[in-house]
Symmetry: C2
Subunit: 222 residues, 2 copies
DNA sequence: GTTTTAATATGATTTAGATCATATTTTTGC
DNA sequence: GCAAAAATATGATCTAAATCATATTAAAAC
């Protein structure tokens, strides 16, 4: 991680939802940080010191289980907030880790400043609440999928979500991450990817995946 | 469901976090509703019309899958909010159902009034946000458990959570609900309950469960 | 208060998917 | 640029838990 030039005060969640009078304060308190691919932004279990606003790049948000098992809870992209789970009422420890999966730029502010921002900008609280509500819904949908859908369907769901995230039918992801995101193992993902390739729903070249038929993939989910 | 006498304007989430000047408005806009055990409070897929504040009783919040599979996402109790997931940015449809598991009294306000309340009471937004943050954390923890823990551990976790909810080592729940809450089937719960009984960690009489050793149960989770 | 319906008990069978094993290829750190 | 580490490929094996089947009991509805 290293410090970088400053943001445009327009793109991030904080600036977008703050009143104009507050932007100057934001300018004083934010820090622009740069993380290389695979760098850790924050780690599960460590104390929450601030909030991150994703400016550019992609980040995986994940939970560890034992030494070698993980679950990717979501992928974050431009405009998203990171570290906001620490705002809950319990101990202020991150309950997830965040790792850059591309070179990533974030805007960072200390927790105290962000909490002040919430007080000053009612709209910010409102938007953040909405953001939470959406995430919660998605988390609950995923829980249901984990319990009731088989791996192939969950993989289809994961591929479609990645496509949405990248705003393209083409994207890059390791099979390992795809497994952690679908809630299964590498081997099972490998086999199911083979099946999707055989069915001509996708094309794979190394880590690059191209969706050939969104429609047929979607059928696996229903 | 039937209407009931009014609430004390002190207990529910809305009243607790509204400024004193707003309580009169709340008094004008809330409705006190009574639901008998097993009655549906709202149904997944139907439009969100209002927000419910749980005043007394217990409610299960669940998602359906096909005709005969469900997942219980959480249990709500006194002081909790219901229907708040509808506040997200998407379509205003409930993404979960809520069903009373005991006779239950709730305070109800229409969505528009609640949204006005959020604007007027910054502290309400803040507290709601905190509530969301906590729920999100819990949902993510559950996701990880579903992926990485076996059924017996998830059952132990569910039993401990129910104990916390009831603030007692003794509580009542159907095996069916226990299965939906642990993300598994009735038969599997039945067998694992037998094992816990044999290990003398719990005692069961009909639907009544008593935890004998919280400590040993907890060991299954780590 | 009896019929219907839902919940429970419990064994037998099946299966999806985890785990193991091993070889090969790709990345990445020094 | 090379060694070490991580990711990938792929078959073989194992197992937890789902499904099926059937009997019994309890709860809810008419």
């Amino acid at each position: 991680m290293k410090k970088a030039g400053n943001c445009d005060l327009k793109t991030c969640f904080l600036c977008q939802h703050s009143i104009p009078e507050w932007i100057a304060a934001v300018s004083d308190h934010r820090q622009h940080l740069f993380f290389k691919k695979n760098e850790t932004i924050f780690q599960e279990g460590s104390p929450v010191k601030g909030i991150f606003f994703l400016y550019d790049g992609k980040v995986k948000v994940h939970k560890q289980w034992g030494p070698d098992k993980e679950l990717i809870v979501r992928f974050a992209q431009q405009g998203d907030i990171l570290g906001h789970r620490g705002l809950g009422s319990g101990e202020r420890l991150y309950t997830v880790s965040a790792t850059a999966v591309e070179d990533t730029t974030v805007c960072y502010t200390e927790l105290a400043f962000f909490e002040a921002s919430l007080k000053v900008n009612p709209n910010l609280s409102l938007k953040l609440m909405q953001f939470y509500a959406d995430e919660l819904q998605e988390a609950e949908r995923k829980m249901r999928n984990l319990v009731h859908m088989d791996v192939k369907s969950r993989l289809a769901d994961a591929l479609l979500e990645l496509s949405r995230l990248h705003k393209a039918l083409h994207f890059t992801i390791s099979r390992q991450d795809l497994a952690s995101f679908s809630g299964t193992t590498y081997e099972t993902i490998y086999r199911n990817l083979q099946e999707f390739i055989a069915e001509k729903l996708i094309t794979v070249e190394g880590r690059a995946i191209t969706i050939l038929s969104e429609k047929k993939l979607r059928k696996y989910i229903a």
